[in-house]
Symmetry: none
Subunit: 191 residues, 4 copies
């Protein structure tokens, strides 16, 4: 792995846990075992690193969720289940206590930095579109009643997941996320 990617990966973990503002360059230097000069050799500023971190997140979503799940020719039910499984896996993991990486940045950065916001915006936008696509397929298959508004429901699904993750973080109870996902599965008869 390149040093640059190395720094991004380590920074992503720290920023995920501490938040972007609360993370200091020193935190990163220490964890990555590099000097100030090296950091600024790769990144022109803390913001530059921050954007690289979000970009890394974007790429991961593109690869794992959009290309890896929704762009395949799997059955829409399988797609949606895989996406929900992935979400659960990530957030029930020992390192998944800090909420949604995208959602955290959305809340912390949206009002301060439009560039950050747009990158997070892209993730949510593509996520919703993908779900909308799958729901539309389900409608055509007759699995869902045809009067359903796929876009509205896609938005509701993502809202419930994000809300579930947020509450899980604040209430320290996994149930908030598992419950949200169980309700989604029930609602759209995915299991």
């Amino acid at each position: 792995m390149s040093k640059l990617q190395d720094i991004i990966t380590i920074s992503r973990k720290i920023i995920y846990y501490k938040g972007y503002q609360a993370t200091s360059i020193s935190d990163i230097l220490e964890e990555a075992h590099i000097g100030k000069g090296q950091f600024y050799h790769y990144f022109s500023s803390k913001r530059d690193l921050g954007l690289a971190v979000v970009e890394d997140l974007v790429k991961e979503w593109d690869r794992d969720v959009f290309e890896g799940i929704f762009a395949t020719d799997l059955d829409p039910i399988v797609k949606l289940n895989k996406m929900l499984d992935r979400t659960l896996a990530i957030h029930l993991d020992e390192e998944g206590h800090s909420g949604c990486p995208a959602g955290n940045l959305a809340i912390e950065m949206s009002e301060h930095d439009e560039t950050f916001r747009l990158k997070v915006h892209y993730i949510f936008d593509r996520w919703i579109s993908s779900i909308e696509g799958a729901l539309s397929e389900l409608k055509m298959q007759g699995h869902l009643t045809s009067d359903i508004d796929a876009k509205q429901h896609a938005r509701a699904i993502v809202s419930m997941i994000e809300g579930g993750i947020l509450l899980k973080k604040s209430q320290k109870e996994d149930g908030f996320l598992t419950n949200a996902i169980a309700i989604i599965r029930a609602q759209y008869r995915l299991s």
Copy 2:
């Protein structure tokens, strides 16, 4: 209004907009037109102010939502609708662009400071219990089928609202919140 409450109110606005970490004492002094001495007369530290701000939020919820809505003997449908109306009113207001005051703090502070987390925890907890109570009433009235798990649904409702607010902030589209609330109303036949 007392000077103390004045400072809290002003700080709450700034912290709501900027986030707790990104807000400096100076920001508050400037906006409140006070000096350092006065600030440290009322608060022993920034954290102390932060906690007072969350406490202020807690009190507002206790007054406006729990006592003002759920503790009354209104019809449960009316209660839920009033709560949803209030949510919409706050977040569609010009000053409501920065997300959920409680949710923001949940994300920003939960991992750093247990005292902050517990205060936010209390808000969400009481919110969910109140909704759960209303849903139970609705079940008893026969308005909802009796196989419904009130607690799970209360959690789902709050999740969807919080998720809707989060996405509204990041995607800059009111639709995320109005949609979430419309779906809730439809789901539980509140309108």
Copy 3:
């Protein structure tokens, strides 16, 4: 003397000797025996201090040269001689080896910062106007031939003084300045 004026006075000395860019905040803190916080309590930035220093210089000129010499009703010959005496006194002093405080800043800052430039511009402008006035008086007195262009000569006088100071600094020979001033005195029959 106030702490603020204290810092300005100390900074002026250091900046005079080292130059503005080469002077670090730490240099000033050390010499003034103050902490960073105190410095930034009085000045919002290094540039802010720099401007205060030039402003201090401007005020000194206003007081000592313009009001103290040229605005009086002394004989124009006396005025010019007093000004030349003052120049010599300052630059032949042990602490006057670093050139002209205004000229140094003119060279170092003119191209970088218009605000600095304008303050220095003001000093030179007023200096030249004052000399021009004195020369005009001399013309009216018949001390100088009437075909002389007072403005041109005022400019030439200041040019020769500034050039003399510059060369004195570089060549480390007082003669450059004393010579320039002797020539001026001879030229306009001031002694």
Copy 4:
């Protein structure tokens, strides 16, 4: 042109415009399109480059002014006029707004680095000697009265030129230099 000379030429321009201290190695690398390694292959330090730049200036003066003008067997009036013409040409050029390259370094570096100072000292010294020589020739020709002190006047001429250039930079008016030179021409009946 060799790479080394290329770097010196580019650096000279940047240092002339920005000043030595304010010029960073990176500024030079960028403008010269070279890497760190190449730079430190040619120069052992920033100071080393700085000295090479002044040396380049010295050589140019030796070639263009001392050998090209004063060492010829031209008439002293022609010599002096050529020198003044050259000065005007350089400083009225679009790229001549930043003052006198030698004078700037004199002010910025004289107190900090004796080696820099001595190189600038050499330029001024030879310049003055050359003018002194020409004035002496003029005296012998009877063009100037014999009671004139050639050395003093040579110094005065350089002082007025340097002062004129300094004021032109600070006051942003070409008149300061053209005026100084016009007065010199008039004084010694060069035109």
